[in-house]
Each structure stands twice: as C-alpha cells, then as structure tokens.
C-alpha cells in the first residue's frame, strides 16, 4: 500500500509541489499495485544487457564551439550569468 506520507516524500524527492496528496494516492496506488505482477515473472536469474559500442566509434576529442551565442537565447541575468534562487545553507 502506498501511503500519503510516501507520496509526499517522493513528491518532495522529485521536487513537485502537490497540494492534495490524497488526490494522487489512489491513482498512483493503482499503478504501483499493477507492477506487483513483476514478482511472478521469474526473472531473478536474468542478466541485464545493453547495446554496445567499440571505443573507436566514440566521438573524437575535438574542440568545436557551438555556432551561436547560446546564453543569449536562455534566461540570463547580470550580464551572461544564469540566475538561481538562494540556496539553503
């Protein structure tokens, strides 16, 4: 059972302010319950695999500047800084 507290904790972890946690509990609970079916898949011994790439196909180490003044297209402040809110110490 996913509790309201858990939803609150995770929403905090994911940095999403939610006013009414109850509103999410039911649906999230349904969804996560549905995932319990994975327990019966019998896959414990399976290995995890990923696509592979040879080292020679990786990007060459070359400096190529971006062809645009990117910062001017983004939020900027006091010249070309990006501004963030104050940090809690």
């Amino acid at each position: 059972m996913v509790t309201e507290e858990e939803i609150e904790k995770v929403s905090k972890l994911m940095r999403i302010g939610i006013d009414d946690h109850k509103e999410y509990v039911e649906k999230v609970h349904m969804m996560i319950n549905f995932f319990d079916i994975l327990d019966s898949a019998g896959v414990e011994s399976e290995e995890i695999s990923m696509p592979e790439i040879p080292i020679s196909k990786l990007r060459e180490d070359e400096h190529i500047p971006f062809d645009d003044k990117l910062i001017e297209r983004l939020n900027h402040y006091k010249g070309t800084y990006v501004r963030a809110p104050k940090m809690s110490s």
Binding site: L13, I55, D61, R83, A84
Partner: protein, 468 residues
C-alpha cells in the same frame, strides 16, 4: 587507529573537449557562460556524446594505479537537484551490475606501505555557483556553466591512510603520475579536488567535502584529526556526519545536509551504449602510455650512472625529466642531471616560473657541454643560467655578453701568471718545496681573472713557469 580514505576528483585538463560535447575541456579562458552548447546545458532533446580520448586517458590512469580494467564500461545517472547541474542528474559510473567503471581495485605504494584503490570512475564536472548579495537574506545565486561537463576522474581509496603525512606523500605520487601520463595539470586552479573520510579509534566516520586543492586536503585531514582527538579526550562522542572544508578559515564545519535527499535513484544511462575495452585495446593503450616514473628512474640509474636520489627527483617531475630526455647525450648525462637537480630546481619550482622561463633543453645541453669542456666554470654557469631564464638568449651569446667565458688563451694567461710570479716571490719559492702552496698561486690567478681562468691550464702554466 586513525583511518583516512580519500575520494579525489581530477579534471582531465589536457583534453580538447568536454566529456559529452565539443565545448572546451579547459574552461578557464572563457567569459561567463561562453563555453556552453545545447548538450552541456542539458537543453531539451540534446544527447551526450562520449569523448573517446577521455575513456582512453581514464583507462590509462587506472592502469597506472594498477587497477583491474573491465571488459565493458557503463554509465549511470545520479539523480539530484542542484542549480550547477543543468540536467539535474550527473552522468557517472558505478559498479552495481558487475565492474563497469574505468578502473576496478588497484593499489599504490608509498614507500613500503600499500594504499588500496577501491575504484576509478569517469564522470562530468558540474558548473560553478557564485553567491551574490550582501546577506543570506537577499542572497542570490549566479551560475556559470562553462565548467559543466568537464571530464573528471574520481579516484576512490580504501581507508588505508593513518597520518596526514601519508596523505601528502600519496598526493605527490598521484600528481606526478597524472602529470607524467600527460592527462592533467594538477597545478591548475580547481583541477584537483577531494573529499576525505576520517575516523579515529572509537569514533564514527566523518566525511569532509569540498576540499579545493591537494594543499588544503592535507590541512583538512590534519585539522579534522586534531578536532576528533580533542573531542575524544574530553569524552565527547564523535558522531557520523558530513562536514565541509571552509576554504577561508581553514577549518571543517558541520553541514546540515538533509539525509532524505540522498536517494540518487541510480540507473543506467541509455543514451550511452556500453563501451567495449577488450584485451586488444588494453594492450594498445599500454603501448601508447608514456614510460612510467619507476621505469625512468631505473633507466637513469643503470644507464647513466646517476645516483639513486638524483634519479628519483629527476624522474618524478615530468618537467625535469622531459628536459633531461631532450638534453642528455651519452657523454653529458650526469652533468645534465646535476645542473637540473642542483641549479635549475630552485629557479623554476612553480608553474608560473616555468611558464615565463625561456629556458630550453638546447640551453641545458650547451651548458652541460660547456662545463665539461672547461669553456665555462661551474661558478659562472650559475650566472649564465639566470640570464638564460630571463632572456632566452643562446649560451654563447650570454657568455660573451656577460664576459663569463674562461680565460683559456694561453699567451694571455701566461702574461697574467708571469705578473703573479713576480709579485709573489716568497710563495713561488715555497711552492718548490711545498706542493700545497701552488693552490695559493692558482687562487691569485683566479682573483685576477675574476674566476674565469681555466683552472687546469692555469696549473699547467704555473708549474711550467716556476719549473716544478
């Protein structure tokens, strides 16, 4: 027993581009937010592209630290929110699905003591925060992303250190290894950073974060041991905590980090396939690696008869060993080593001095040859060295401009010696019976020639003229 473990972050400053994009790896020369692109800014739709050379260089570091090399390396996402991290996750490495970071377990010897390496991983550096505003109330945070994505190698050790001194020795060895590999310049500001974990007998483990240089790392470790010892002696419990190194006050301070935030939800980075580092590639990388410090040292001793202590100093600093390698010949190797270790080291001991110095290996070779052939005295060679460092002029120009050359013209020297003999009849007479007195006469000649007389030739002519 005191146990100290280190996590060292070392930027691969000698690469051309960042870890996942083609912006410049060495961001120091740029104006604020000028060294950025959609990839290192994590713009929607951008994808990381792994730098081939970064993988190779990181693997070389792992090899130099005697680490196991995995067949495949994998990248993971470490998820956390912070304004210096444009994607709000960091691409890094982990060993949760087998060994997949660039280096597995390894070791480094400090003298007779073995320091075990836990792992080595390749990851991206975040941007830089600048705090603005007069008080914490109206503080704002400014971000410069030029550094974001700079290739970083993290070296994690086991808690095998017992003293700050061992930490310092390890850092020196590590700096030398990294410099020798040509992967990084540890003297660049911010290129080397570290975290340390420290526990003393009977106390909990304390982590020290945010140590901005090797120099401060030793200080931080030292401070923290004293702090913990002092708590211990007063029977105050040492709690498990994270502390930060206060760069300005040179102390560690407790940081109120929120434990709940430390769930990084690590998982595989799907945008980067696993990179195969098969045995063939490992072999190739090994052949591309520069000669190791220990192998250089052994060669200097056995091939050129250089004393072990001199060879040690010479081989461990890449700047000096490069100079040596370029300057020595079969006949002058010992003299070249001698000039470097007795004269040069005091003059170019910092990065800044090396940068402004005009001294080259050609100067070094000429100087060694000139000393060996008696063209210039050891004494005068020091003056020549100073002048070359400043002006970069070649040795023969310096000798003639400063009039440093030995007086080796026989008729000129004969004339001076004849004069000395006439001025010092008593000494001349004594020298015929007491061989020591001749040195007094040589000294008189040196005085007259301001030390430039060729000492061998002087003795020769003196003996001839006196008739002994």
């Amino acid at each position: 027993m005191t146990m100290i473990g280190l996590e060292i972050h070392c930027q691969l400053t000698n690469l051309n581009s960042k870890l996942f994009c083609s912006c410049k790896a060495n961001y120091r020369e740029f104006k604020i937010n000028e060294n950025i692109c959609p990839v290192c800014m994590g713009l929607p739709g951008s994808l990381p592209r792994l730098n081939q050379e970064a993988v190779k260089k990181a693997t070389m570091i792992a090899m130099a630290l005697n680490c196991t090399i995995p067949e495949k390396i994998a990248f993971f996402r470490k998820n956390y929110f912070y304004p210096d991290s444009p994607k709000n996750f960091q691409i890094t490495q982990l060993n949760i699905y087998g060994d997949t970071s660039v280096g597995g377990t390894g070791s480094v010897m400090i003298g007779d003591k073995k320091i075990r390496i836990t792992r080595i991983q390749l990851e991206e550096d975040p941007g830089r925060l600048i705090y603005d505003g007069s008080s914490s109330k109206n503080q704002i945070t400014l971000v410069d992303y030029n550094r974001a994505g700079t290739p970083l190698v993290e070296i994690v050790t086991e808690p095998d250190f017992e003293t700050p001194h061992e930490v310092r020795d390890f850092l020196n060895i590590l700096s030398n290894i990294l410099t020798n590999l040509g992967v990084a310049d540890p003297s660049l500001e911010g290129a080397m950073r570290a975290d340390a974990n420290i526990s003393i007998e009977g106390g909990k483990k304390v982590e020290i974060k945010n140590i901005g240089s090797f120099h401060d790392l030793e200080k931080a470790v030292h401070f923290e041991i004293i702090r913990q010892d002092s708590l211990h002696s007063r029977n105050i419990e040492i709690i498990q905590e994270t502390r930060h190194w206060d760069d300005r006050r040179k102390i560690t301070v407790s940081s109120r980090s929120k434990e709940e935030d430390l769930d990084y939800r690590y998982f595989l980075e799907g945008d980067i396939p696993w990179v195969k580092i098969d045995p063939e590639i490992q072999k190739k990388l090994k052949t591309e690696m520069p000669e190791s410090i220990s192998s250089k040292k052994a060669r200097y001793i056995s091939k050129y008869n250089i004393p072990a202590q001199v060879a040690d100093v010479l081989s461990s600093d890449k700047y000096y060993s490069d100079l040596f390698e370029d300057a020595y010949t079969e006949s002058n190797a010992k003299e070249v080593a001698n000039i470097i270790t007795t004269e040069l080291m005091g003059l170019v001991d910092t990065r800044e001095k090396r940068e402004v110095s005009k001294f080259t290996s050609v100067h070094l070779r000429d100087l060694a040859d000139a000393i060996q052939s008696g063209k210039v005295s050891r004494n005068s060679s020091k003056n020549a060295l100073h002048e070359i460092l400043k002006s970069g002029k070649d040795l023969s120009t310096v000798i003639s401009e400063l009039d440093l050359g030995n007086v080796s013209d026989e008729s000129e020297l004969s004339r001076i010696i004849a004069q000395i003999i006439s001025e010092e009849p008593q000494a001349v007479e004594q020298s015929k019976s007491n061989s020591q007195t001749i040195n007094y006469l040589v000294g008189k000649v040196m005085q007259k020639t301001k030390g430039k007389a060729d000492p061998v030739l002087t003795l020769d002519i003196l003996k001839k003229q006196i008739g002994i």
